[in-house]
Every structure is written in C-alpha cells, then in structure tokens.
C-alpha cells in the first residue's frame, strides 16, 4: 500500500480557453450523481470533491497512488462529458501532495482567480466540499484540507487588502458615489437609456441605499419595463429636462452621435440645484455627456474609460496585496503538511499498539493456569503489572516516532522501521515465534 496523498486534477482559465472549460463544466445539479459514479467506478480514488466554476473544473481527491488515480479520473471525465481526451488533455494539470494543497489554498483565497480577490470562489469551494460531504466522498484528508483552505482564505481576506477597491466599472462608479455623497437614502438616480450596464450600476447603487430612481429612454416602453423591474419612475425622453435637476447621479447609456447636453445648458441645471453636487456616469460610446461638464462647479463626470482606469488601479493594488496572501498560504501549508505527516503514522501506531497488546494477551494466556490459582487481589496485581509494562513500552515508541524527524520522509522512514521491528515481520500467533522465546528461557 502506497502513501496516501492529496491530489488535484483539473483545468482553469490559465490553461484552457472557455470553449474547452464549458464542455467539461459540471452544473451544480449534476455533481451528486457524478461523485457517486466516481466512487463506484474509479477504485483508485479514496476521497474526491468536484469544483466546477466558470473559470475552472477541478477534481480534488485523495489516493494511495495519485498518478493512477489521475489517469483513471481523466478517462472518467472524457467518458462522462463525452469529450475526447485529446481535446483537453494538454490543458489538464496534475498536482499532488504539497503542490496540490498549495493550489487548493490559493484557489480558496482567490489568489488563482481571474480577478484576484474576488469573493465568490470561497463560496463555490464551500459548496464543492458540502456536495462531496453529502455524497460521502469526503474522508479525513479532504475534510482537513478543505477546512484548512477555508481558514487560510479567511486569514488572507482579513489580514490583507486583497478584497478591497472597486475592480469593475460599475463598482468603481458606486465607490465614487460614496466618496461624493454621504447620505444615499435621500438621493435620486436618473438613468438615461435602459442598457444592461446602466441597469447593473443602478442596481448596485440601490443596494447601497439609493431609493429614488428615474428612468428615461428613447423607447418609452423600455423605460417603463425597467422602471417596473427596479421600482423606479419612467420619464418621457422628450421631456426629461425638468427632472434632470432632481438627479444627484445621472447614468447615461444612450446611443447618440453627439453629447445630449452641453455645458451651457448644464450650468443652468446646477444653478437650479443650488450647486448641490452631481455625479455623471457616462457609459455611452459615443459619449452622452460633453466632457466640459466636468469643469462645472460641483459636477463630477466620469466616462467609461475613467471608470476603467479606477478599476485598473484597484486591480494593481490587489496584485500587490496578493504577495502577502502567498506568504500566508506558505505558513498554512506548513501546518497542513505537519498534520499530513502525523497522519501517515496513524496506521503504524495502530499496528504497533495492536501487536504489543496482542503479545501481552498471549503471554497472559500461556500462564493462565497459575494465574487462575491466585487470589483476586494478586490476580489484579499481575493484570496491572503487565498492562503498565506494555503501556509504557507503547508510549515510549510513539514518543520516539512523533519526534522522529522534521520532514514527512523522515517520519515515514521511522514508521517503517518501527513497523518492521514490532509487527510486520512476526506473526504473534506463529508457534515458531513462541518457540524462539521458549528457547531463550533457561
């Protein structure tokens, strides 16, 4: 029997294009059955979980021989997904032991994500674990590895700024709105154009507390539909002007040949507003607002490129924070490996305890005739004496094994030696074994 190791077989946005990933991806509903199939058909895998997101498909498993397990799993996937191995074979990566654990921790901490620090991956990893636990394919090692991945991710999220900063256009717009406005509940957003991006930004602004929403669109029906969906008020496009001064945030996404509003007209708007600040978000290409509006007092105009730059800057900040995350992963990896090394001893320790206790039983059995003749208190004393002797012996051996070495290899070597000395080579029930002992007696 080989050494039990953690392994990962998978592909991600780093190795495979979406055209390949989408063919292998598992829908959430397919996962329980797939896990059951692996359990039944892939004998070399003793524990397994499936992580399937838009950016990666990975099998995290435990096996005695990880290379056999990976081969069998790859074949299983090819058959299960009806995709030839040549299509995705090159994109597959295989990792085992320390590499696999590091990868799992990095994935959970969002260090391997397309957008470093994005928070969804941890939830997806938790789901993968929960599915596997429900399917009964999680054992001692996966349980420990996943929980270590969760706690590592938490530590990194708390200890670094990896999840900070607005990294998308819409979240950059929201972050800017927060810098300009204090109270959001008394603010009004006006959507000019009912595009997807504008809708997304409006939803995010609503989620941070903006309550009042005006929507205008060249097609009035679109405005009405979106207004109903978002809980806003539709305003006819040919009469939006009186409503403009009510808006603190204006999101423009109308397709126009030239800007809708010029600076002169806007000057009047801001005066009517008594110079209360206005935040103009221009998502239109070509742009909806004249760029000179930005120089009007208390007006802040950001077009799609400006917002993109804000997002890029935050992304760069996150990359810097990611280095700190990598350090934390290495620390946690060490403690996980320590645990894994201890785990290797578990069967050995069991065997040693078993064989020594067996030895005692045999000896007691052989001397049963005269022990039976003893009084109850003396019988108990013999019992105690032999038990304390074997316990002390076991204790000393375990202590020696546990302090054996720093590396897993050292530990394994010590365990093997101990096993050979104390169990494997002898059969305690073997009469020959008794004979050897008898020969020693005078």
């Amino acid at each position: 029997m080989g050494k039990t190791t953690l392994f990962i077989l998978g592909l991600s946005h780093r190795t495979a294009p979406v055209a390949v990933r989408e063919r292998l991806a598992y829908a959430e509903a397919e996962i329980p059955q797939t896990l059951a199939n692996i359990k039944q058909r892939v004998a070399s895998v003793s524990e397994v979980a499936i992580l399937s997101t838009c950016n990666r498909v990975e099998m995290v498993g435990v096996a005695a021989d990880s290379s056999v397990a990976c081969d069998e799993l790859a074949a299983f996937i090819a058959q299960d997904r009806q995709v030839g191995l040549p299509v995705f074979g090159d994109a597959l990566y295989r990792m085992e032991g320390r590499e696999a654990a590091r990868h799992l921790f990095r994935v959970g901490a969002s260090l391997d994500s397309m957008m470093v620090g994005e928070p969804q991956i941890l939830g997806q990893l938790k789901l993968a674990y929960a599915e596997a636990a429900r399917a009964g394919t999680v054992g001692l090692v996966l349980h420990r590895a996943f929980h270590k991945a969760f706690s590592t991710a938490k530590r990194i999220r708390k200890g670094t700024l990896i999840g900070h900063g607005a990294v998308s256009v819409s979240s950059a717009a929201v972050a800017l709105a927060r810098q300009i406005f204090d109270r959001l509940s008394d603010k009004t957003v006006m959507l000019m154009g009912a595009g997807k991006m504008a809708e997304l930004t409006a939803r995010q602004l609503q989620s941070i507390g903006i309550e009042s929403l005006l929507i205008t669109s060249r097609t009035f029906d679109n405005a009405v539909t979106l207004a109903r969906e978002l809980g806003g008020t539709a305003v006819p496009f040919d009469n939006y002007r009186p409503y403009l001064k009510m808006a603190d945030v204006v999101i423009g996404s109308i397709s126009v040949a030239k800007p809708i509003i010029g600076p002169e007209e806007f000057d009047a708007v801001i005066r009517e507003r008594r110079y209360r600040p206005m935040f103009l978000i221009d998502l239109g290409v070509p742009r909806n607002f004249d760029e000179r509006l930005n120089s009007i007092e208390n007006v802040y105009l950001y077009d799609i490129d400006d917002l993109g730059q804000v997002a890029d800057k935050s992304r760069a900040e996150r990359e810097k924070e990611a280095d700190k995350g990598e350090e934390i992963v290495e620390q946690e990896l060490k403690s996980f490996e320590h645990w894994m090394a201890g785990l290797d001893l578990v069967p050995t320790i069991k065997d040693i305890r078993y064989s020594i206790e067996r030895l005692r039983d045999v000896e007691l059995g052989r001397n049963q005739s005269w022990i039976a003749a003893l009084g109850p208190s003396e019988r108990e004393r013999v019992e105690l004496l032999t038990r304390s002797l074997t316990n002390k012996l076991i204790h000393r051996i375990l202590l020696g094994l546990r302090q054996g070495g720093n590396s897993a290899a050292d530990n394994n070597y010590a365990a093997e030696v101990a096993r050979r000395l104390l169990c494997g080579e002898f059969d305690l029930d073997d009469p020959e074994f008794d004979a050897i002992e008898d020969d020693d007696e005078p």
């Binding site: 972050a175 406005f181 204090d182 110079y275 120089s295 804000v310």
Partner: protein, 275 residues
C-alpha cells in the same frame, strides 16, 4: 511662565501630529487610535498647565498674546477631538494636530519670564465670558478651515479622476465635509457675535461706551461681516462645496492676518492679547 505640565503637553501634541500624518501617508497602518489618544493626553496635560496659570493669575490665563494662543490651542484640541471621535473624521487630525503643536511651540517661545498680571480694569467676570466665547469661535473657524482644506484636496482628486485608494472607505465623503464645514462656520459665527456683544457690554460697564473703534474692534467687525456674507451666500444662492471651502480658507487667512497684526502692532485696549 511655563508650569511643569507644559513640556509634556507639547510633546504629546507633537507626537500626535506625527502619528496623524503617518496614518494619512501610509494608508495601511492604523495609527489613528494612538494619535487620538496622544492628542487627548496632550489636552489633559495642557489643561493642568492652564489651571496652574489660571490660579496664579486669579482669572483665565489670557494676559498676553502667548497665553491667549496657548488657550486657543487647547480649545482647538478639545474641539478637534470631538470632531474626530464623534464624526469619525480622523483625517482632520492630520491638519489640526500639527497646527496645535506649532501654535504651542510659538506660544512657548514667546512666553516672557516673570509673573504676568492682568491690568486691574480687566480683572472681571466678563473676562472669561468675553474671551472664552471669542476663543471658542476662533477654534471653530480653525477647524472649518481645516475641513475646507481636506475638502479641496479630495475635490481636486475627484475632478482630476485620480483613482481611489483601497482604503477610500474610511475617508469622509465630500457631502459630509461640506456639511461639517457649514456647522462649524455657523457655530463659530454665533460665538463671535456673542463675543462682540459681551465685549461691548463689558466696555460700557468699564469705560462708559460700547464701542470705541479701536483696531481690534474694527477688525472684529470686518471678520464678522465676512463670515456673515459667507453663511448668507450658502443660504440664499446655495454656494457650497468647493467655492464655500475656498472662501472659508480665504476668510480664515484674513482673520489670522488681521488679528496677529493687530495684536502685535496696534495692541490698543486689548493689550496685545487677541482674545
């Protein structure tokens, strides 16, 4: 004459200024807590110093320019602590704490040796009322100017589309800064008005006339009119934001210039103190 509390107080102020600035610069290390605590410690030690001087003088210690400056610095420290803790605007500390530390340095350097005695006509219950109101008013104007500086810095960043820092969440918004600026100006104006009125009543009781057009009085009136105009422009035309912040700073510069000038060049009846 400095009491033994003075130097430790100045040391605390200076340390607090350094901590506030370091907190602003680094953006990552959280030093604001320590900065607030040292500022508080400075204010407590400073209060002991002021109490010692007050007992010696038999009234609040504002006999000359140096003492008045010290008293003003203390009130400013208290007001900024209030602002920082209650409104969670630790960014103000980066402006107020260095100003307080510098003011204390100047005050100590200017302090003359020997016992200071207030001229007899000024030994009155009106002294703490009139001077206290004026100094609280000035402290409000100092903080309003600090808040306005912060406002202008943020404003220009937003206008120039310079990307946000990851810690932007803990900075106050423009709207909040503008609102706080307005409250500080309004309270400062109320205090200044009350100081002028109580000063006039006191002058009438002592010298028999409300107003004598001495330089201090005239300049106070000018400052009062400027602040009145500043508040009025917000209430009627709605001047707020950048324009309000810039004007707050301009009026404050006039205030500092005129009062320092008047105190040192034309002492008048106010006797070189600016209270």
């Amino acid at each position: 004459m400095g009491s033994l509390w003075l130097l430790p107080a100045i040391a605390c102020y200076a340390l607090s200024a350094i901590l506030f600035l370091a907190d602003r610069m680094s953006g990552k290390v959280r030093l604001a807590g320590w900065a607030i605590m040292t500022l508080g410690a400075g204010a407590v030690l400073h209060a002991l110093d002021l109490a010692a001087r007050g007992l010696q003088a038999g009234n609040i210690p504002v006999a000359n320019f140096a003492e008045s400056l010290s008293f003003l610095a203390w009130v400013t420290a208290l007001a900024s602590l209030l602002l920082i803790v209650r409104l969670r605007m630790s960014v103000i500390g980066a402006y107020a704490a260095p100003a307080i530390a510098i003011a204390m340095g100047v005050s100590t350097a200017m302090t003359t040796r020997g016992r200071l005695v207030l001229p007899a006509p000024l030994q009155s219950v009106w002294l703490p009322i009139h001077v206290g109101l004026a100094i609280v008013g000035y402290a409000m104007f100092i903080l309003a100017a600090s808040v306005s500086l912060v406002y202008l810095a943020y404003e220009s960043r937003l206008k120039a589309k310079r990307p946000l820092k990851p810690d932007a969440e803990r900075l106050p918004s423009l709207e909040k800064l503008d609102r706080v600026n307005y409250s500080l100006l309004a309270w400062g104006f109320v205090m200044l008005s009350a100081a002028i009125v109580t000063g006039a009543i006191w002058a009438d009781a002592t010298w028999g006339h409300f107003w004598s057009w001495e330089p201090k009085e005239s300049w106070s009136l000018v400052i009062w009119i400027l602040y009145a105009a500043l508040l009025e422009s917000r209430l009627t035309v709605g001047w707020r934001g950048r324009r309000a912040a810039a004007l707050t700073i301009v009026v404050f510069v006039v205030l500092v210039g005129s009062f320092v000038g008047v105190s040192l060049v034309f002492p008048g009846k106010h006797g070189g103190s600016f209270g």
